[in-house]
C-alpha cells in the first residue's frame, strides 16, 4: 500500500515540477518570443484535444468538427469585444458559453443517431458554420474577417498574458478530464463507448450522458477560441472553421492515446513541434502540410491505433503479468446473502401478472420476428420460454427490455404500460436482463462492471465517485453471492464464458430488479457452472425475484421452470406445466416443423 502512495506522491512531484517549468519559462526566457508562441500553441492543442477526448475518447463518438467550437468561441468574443470596451481576455467565458450552448443544441439533435451518422454530422456542422460566417456579412464581415484591437497591456509583457491564460486552460482541461473519468458520469461514458445498448439496459440514461459529454468537450475549446482569436488579433471564416485544425486535434489525441487523461497533452507536445518542423524545413506550403498530416494520421490509425500512452502501458502490464500468476477462481459456492431488492421481497403475492405482452409485432425488413405475440408472466414465477431457433425469443427480450421498439402491440410491467419508456427507465422500474452472448464491458474490471448499473437517475449522482462506499460494498456482496469475488480486479474480458455469465448476473442484481430475463443462462458453459447458476436462480426466486428463462437445455428447463411458454414463428403457441408441454403435440410440431396449418387452427386463442 505504501508503495502505491509513494508512487502517487512521485507522480504529483513530477507534475508539479513540469508545471513549475512551464510557469517559469516566459520569466526566464523573456525575449524568446518564438518558443513562447510554440508553447502557447501546444497548450491550445492540448485543450482542444482534451475536449475531443471527452466525446471521442471516453464516449467513443468520433468528431471531425471539433474545431467549429474554436471558431464559435473566437467569433463570439470578437463580436462582443467590438461593442464593449473591455479587454477581450475578460470576455473569454462568453466564448465557452456560446460553444457549450451550440454543443447542447447540436448534441440534442445528433445524439439520437449512432455510428457513422455522428462523424458525418460533425463535418457538416463545421462547414455549415464556415459558410454562415462567410455569408452573414452584416455581422461577421464575411471573408474580410474581423480585426481585434491590439492588447493594451505594457509591451514588455509581450504575449505572456496569452501564455498564462492558455496554460491555465490546459490545467483546467486535464483536471476536467481526470474528474470526469473518476465519476459515475465518466464510467457511464465508457460504458456507452464499449456497448451502448447494454449501457442503456443497465440504467445509464445515454441520451443525457452523451449531450453532457458533448457540452463538456466543447466548453473549454470555446474559451480557448476567445483567447486564440485575440492572440491572432484577426479572425476569418477559413482560419477559424478549419477542417485541418480538426484533423490536428484528432491527430494529437490519437498520438498521445485516446481515452486517457494525459494522452491529449502528450499528443500536443508531439504534434505542435512536428508542425513547426514541417513549416520551417519543408517550406510549409498548404500542400506539404496536408500531405504530411494526412500520412501521419493514416500511419497512426493503421499502426498505432491506441496511441503512445496505452501502448506503453500495455507493455508494462504484460511484463508485470508475466511475473505474477493469475489468481485461481473461487471454486466453492458461498452462502447467499440478501441479494434481491426490497421491492422484490415485498411483492411476493403469487399469481398476479408482473409482465403482460399483448399483440406484439416486430418486423425486420420483410421478416416478421415477433408476430402478434401475447403472453403473461406471473409474479414470483420462474417462467420458461422455449421455441425453435428464430422463433423470436431474443427479439421478445429486446422488446421487453427496451433495446428495440415494437411496431405494434403493448408491454405492461407491474400494471403499467412501458411501451414508450426507454431502456434505462425500464431498468429503473425493475427489469433486468442478461445476454445469450454475454455483454460485459470487457476493458473494465469485474468490480467496475458490477458497480456500473444505476437503479435510478439523478443529476447529483453524476458527479459521485464511480467506485465507492455502499455501492462498492454491495457489488462485492453480489460478486461473493455468485462466487466471483476473487476475480473482482480482473478485466472482464479475460474471464471464461461461464464466469462472464455469473458476473453478468451479479451486474443485473445491482439494479435490484423485480424481473430478470435470462437469455440462455446455461448455453455454452460446463455442467458444474450450470448447476451453480440453477441454484442461484432458485435462491433469488425464493427472495422474490421473478424470472423468464430462455433456454435450449430441456432437462434444465423442465426441472427449473413452471410454467413453460412455447414460442414459434413469433407467437406464443402453448403454455403449461412441464408435463403438459412435454405431451403437447403442437410443441413437437413446432420443433419438428410439421403440419403448420393444423397447429395454428388448433391453437388460435
Amino acid at each position: 500500500m505504501s508503495a502505491g502512495r509513494g508512487k502517487g506522491l512521485l507522480r504529483w512531484a513530477v507534475l508539479l515540477a513540469g508545471l513549475a517549468l512551464l510557469v517559469a519559462f516566459p520569466l526566464v526566457r523573456r525575449e524568446d518570443a518564438y518558443h513562447q508562441t510554440v508553447l502557447f500553441l501546444i497548450f491550445l492543442f492540448a485543450v482542444m484535444s482534451g475536449g475531443w477526448n471527452i466525446i471521442s475518447g471516453f464516449t467513443g463518438y468520433v468528431s471531425l468538427g471539433q474545431s467549429a467550437f474554436l471558431g464559435i468561441g473566437a467569433y463570439t468574443v470578437a463580436l462582443v469585444a467590438l461593442h464593449v470596451h473591455v479587454s477581450p481576455l475578460f470576455l473569454i467565458p462568453l466564448g465557452g458559453l456560446a460553444a457549450a450552448a451550440s454543443a447542447a443544441v447540436l448534441g440534442a439533435v445528433v445524439m439520437r443517431t449512432r455510428g457513422h451518422s455522428f462523424v458525418i454530422i460533425t463535418i457538416a456542422f463545421l462547414f455549415l458554420m464556415q459558410t454562415v460566417a462567410l455569408n452573414w456579412r452584416s455581422v461577421t464581415h464575411g471573408s474580410n474577417g474581423i480585426t481585434l484591437p491590439l492588447p493594451r497591456w505594457n509591451t514588455d509583457l509581450g504575449n505572456m498574458p496569452f501564455y498564462y491564460v492558455m496554460l491555465g486552460l490546459m490545467v483546467l482541461s486535464v483536471a476536467l478530464s481526470g474528474w470526469i473519468r473518476r465519476t459515475k458520469f465518466g464510467m457511464g461514458l465508457i460504458a456507452i463507448r464499449e456497448d451502448e445498448d447494454k449501457a442503456a439496459v443497465i440504467g445509464v440514461r445515454t441520451s443525457v450522458y452523451k449531450v453532457l459529454a458533448f457540452v463538456a468537450s466543447a466548453v473549454l475549446i470555446g474559451i480557448a477560441g476567445g483567447v486564440y482569436g485575440y492572440f491572432l488579433t484577426f479572425i476569418d471564416p477559413r482560419g477559424m472553421f478549419d477542417i485541418l485544425m480538426s484533423v490536428q486535434i484528432v491527430l494529437a489525441a490519437l498520438l498521445g492515446g485516446r481515452g486517457t487523461i494525459w494522452g491529449p497533452v502528450l499528443g500536443a507536445f508531439l504534434l505542435v513541434p512536428m508542425n513547426e518542423i514541417t513549416n520551417n524545413y519543408f517550406g510549409g506550403s498548404p500542400g506539404e502540410r496536408l500531405f504530411v498530416f494526412g500520412l501521419l494520421l493514416g500511419a497512426v490509425v493503421l499502426f498505432l491505433p491506441r496511441g503512445v500512452i496505452p501502448t506503453i502501458r500495455g507493455w508494462i502490464d504484460r511484463i508485470r503479468e508475466a511475473r505474477r500468476p493469475a489468481p485461481a477462481p473461487h471454486p466453492s459456492a458461498t452462502a447467499a446473502s440478501r441479494t434481491a431488492g426490497p421491492g422484490a421481497a415485498a411483492a411476493l403475492e403469487e399469481g398476479a401478472p408482473l409482465l403482460e405482452v399483448d399483440g406484439l409485432i416486430k418486423r425486420f425488413g420483410g421478416v416478421v420476428a415477433v408476430d402478434q405475440c401475447s403472453l403473461f408472466v406471473r409474479r414470483g414465477s420462474i417462467t420458461g420460454l422455449i421455441g425453435p431457433n428464430g422463433s423470436g425469443k431474443t427479439t421478445l427480450f429486446n422488446l421487453v427490455s427496451g433495446m428495440s421498439r415494437a411496431d405494434r402491440g403493448t408491454v405492461r410491467f407491474d400494471s403499467r404500460s412501458i411501451d414508450r419508456s426507454p431502456a434505462w427507465d425500464r431498468a429503473y422500474l425493475g427489469i433486468g436482463r442478461t445476454f445469450q452472448i454475454t455483454r460485459l464491458f470487457k476493458h473494465m474490471s469485474v468490480l467496475e462492471n458490477v458497480v456500473a448499473p444505476l437503479g435510478r437517475f439523478a443529476w447529483a449522482q453524476l458527479g459521485a465517485d464511480a467506485v465507492s462506499g455502499p455501492e462498492a460494498r454491495r457489488a462485492q456482496e453480489l460478486l461473493e453471492f455468485v462466487g466471483m469475488l476473487p476475480l473482482a480486479d480482473q478485466p472482464a474480458g479475460r474471464l471464461s464464458f461461464g464466469q462472464q455469465k455469473l458476473v453478468e448476473l451479479a451486474q443485473v442484481l445491482m439494479l435490484e430488479p423485480q424481473l430478470i430475463l435470462l437469455d440462455e443462462p446455461a448455453g455454452g458453459i460446463n455442467p458444474t457452472l450450470i448447476q451453480r447458476i440453477t441454484e442461484l436462480i432458485r435462491e433469488l426466486n425464493r427472495q422474490g425475484v421473478t424470472f423468464v428463462v430462455v433456454e435450449h437445455n430441456m432437462p434444465l428447463v423442465l426441472n427449473l421452470c413452471d410454467p413453460i411458454l412455447v414460442l414459434a414463428r413469433g407467437r406464443c403457441i402453448a403454455r403449461g406445466s412441464p408435463e403438459t408441454i412435454q405431451g403437447d403435440p403442437a410443441v413437437l410440431d413446432a420443433y419438428l416443423g410439421e403440419g403448420w396449418g393444423r397447429v395454428e387452427e388448433r391453437l388460435e386463442v
Binding site: T113, T131, N135, G294, L297, G298
Partner: protein, 293 residues
C-alpha cells in the same frame, strides 16, 4: 413559371451527374460499412487527369472517361490493398479516420503537383446551348447528364447481370450468407472499392467540364455526396439516384431564388435534418443490430 421550369430542369441535369458521383460512395458503404470520405478527393484527382488529357493531348473530356475510369479503378484497387484492407474489421470510427487521412493526403499531393489554382475544362461545345421554346439547356450539361446515365446503366447491368455484381450485392445484403455460399468477402470488397473509385473517375471527368475545381474543392464535393447518400439511405443505389435528383433541384432552386452563396447550405441542412428525423434515409432499411456478427 418559365423560370421555375428552367431551374428545375437544370437541377435535374445536375442531379443526374451527382447520382453517378454518389453511386460509388453508397456502393462502398453498402458492402463494406465504410464511409469513404476520400471519394471527393478521387473526383478531383480524376478531374485533374481529365484536364491534363485535354490540355496535353486535346482529348475530349467526355471521351476521356474511357481512360479515367480504368485508371481510377486501378487507383482504387491499389489503395484498397495497401490501406483500406487493413482496417476492414476496425470500428467505424477508425475506418472513417483512415479515409479522411487518405482525403487530405491526396489533397496535399494534388496541391504539390497541380498547385492550388482554379481550373476547368472548356471544350468547344462548352458555351452553346440547346433550345426548346423559351427554355435552354447548356450542351455541356446535357452531354454530361446523358453520359452519367449511360455509366449508371452500365453499373446497374454490372451489378445485376454478372457474377461479380451479384457477389457484391450479396455481400452487401448479408456478408455471412455470402461467405457461406462461396463468396470471398475480401476480393469482393477490393472489387467494390475499385468500382466505387472508378465511378469517381467517370464523375470527375464530367465535373471538369461543369465546374471549376482545385484540390481543396473536394470538401465541397464530399459534403454534397454525403448529403445525397444520407438522404437516399446509406448503401442504397436507387436511393442515391433519387437523393441526387432531389438535391440537384433543391440546390439550383436555392441558387436561383435565394442566393448562390447559400446553395451549398442545402446539403448540410439535409444531412442534419435527415439524420435526425429518418436516419435510414428514403430508401434505406433499418436492420437489426443486436445479433452478433
Amino acid at each position: 413559371m418559365r423560370q421555375l421550369i428552367q431551374t428545375v430542369a437544370l437541377g435535374l441535369l445536375a442531379g443526374g451527374v451527382y447520382a453517378l458521383m454518389a453511386s460509388g460512395l453508397t456502393l462502398i458503404f453498402g458492402v463494406m460499412n465504410i464511409v469513404n470520405v476520400a471519394q471527393g478527393a478521387f473526383l478531383i484527382l480524376s478531374a485533374l487527369f481529365t484536364y491534363e488529357l485535354w490540355t496535353r493531348l486535346g482529348l475530349d473530356p467526355i471521351l476521356s472517361i474511357a481512360v479515367t475510369t480504368p485508371v481510377m479503378f486501378l487507383v482504387g484497387w491499389v489503395v484498397y490493398r495497401l490501406f483500406v484492407a487493413r482496417i476492414r474489421h476496425a470500428p467505424a470510427s477508425m475506418s472513417v479516420l483512415l479515409t479522411f487521412a487518405l482525403a487530405i493526403t491526396l489533397e496535399g499531393a494534388m496541391g504539390l503537383v497541380w498547385k492550388n489554382v482554379y481550373r476547368s475544362v472548356t471544350p468547344r461545345y462548352f458555351a452553346s446551348s440547346f433550345h426548346a421554346g423559351s427554355l435552354f439547356f447548356p450542351r455541356a450539361q446535357v452531354f454530361a447528364f446523358l453520359t452519367a446515365l449511360v455509366v449508371l446503366a452500365i453499373l446497374y447491368v454490372l451489378l445485376t447481370r454478372t457474377w461479380t455484381g451479384r457477389a457484391i450485392r450479396a455481400s452487401s445484403a448479408n456478408p455471412q450468407g455470402a461467405q457461406l455460399v462461396g463468396v470471398s468477402i475480401g476480393s469482393v470488397a477490393a472489387m467494390t472499392f475499385a468500382v466505387g473509385v472508378a465511378t469517381a473517375g467517370a464523375g470527375g471527368s464530367l465535373l471538369s467540364i461543369l465546374y471549376t475545381f482545385f484540390p481543396a474543392s473536394h470538401y465541397q464535393w464530399i459534403s454534397r455526396l454525403l448529403g445525397i447518400v444520407v438522404l437516399g439511405g446509406m448503401g442504397s443505389l436507387p436511393g442515391a439516384v433519387i437523393g441526387a435528383l432531389m438535391l440537384g433541384v433543391a440546390e439550383t432552386v436555392t441558387a436561383t431564388y435565394i442566393s448562390i452563396r447559400w446553395a451549398v447550405v442545402v446539403f448540410y441542412l439535409v444531412i442534419l435534418i435527415v439524420l435526425l428525423i429518418r436516419p435510414q434515409g428514403l430508401m434505406g432499411v433499418r436492420l437489426r443490430e443486436d445479433v452478433a456478427l
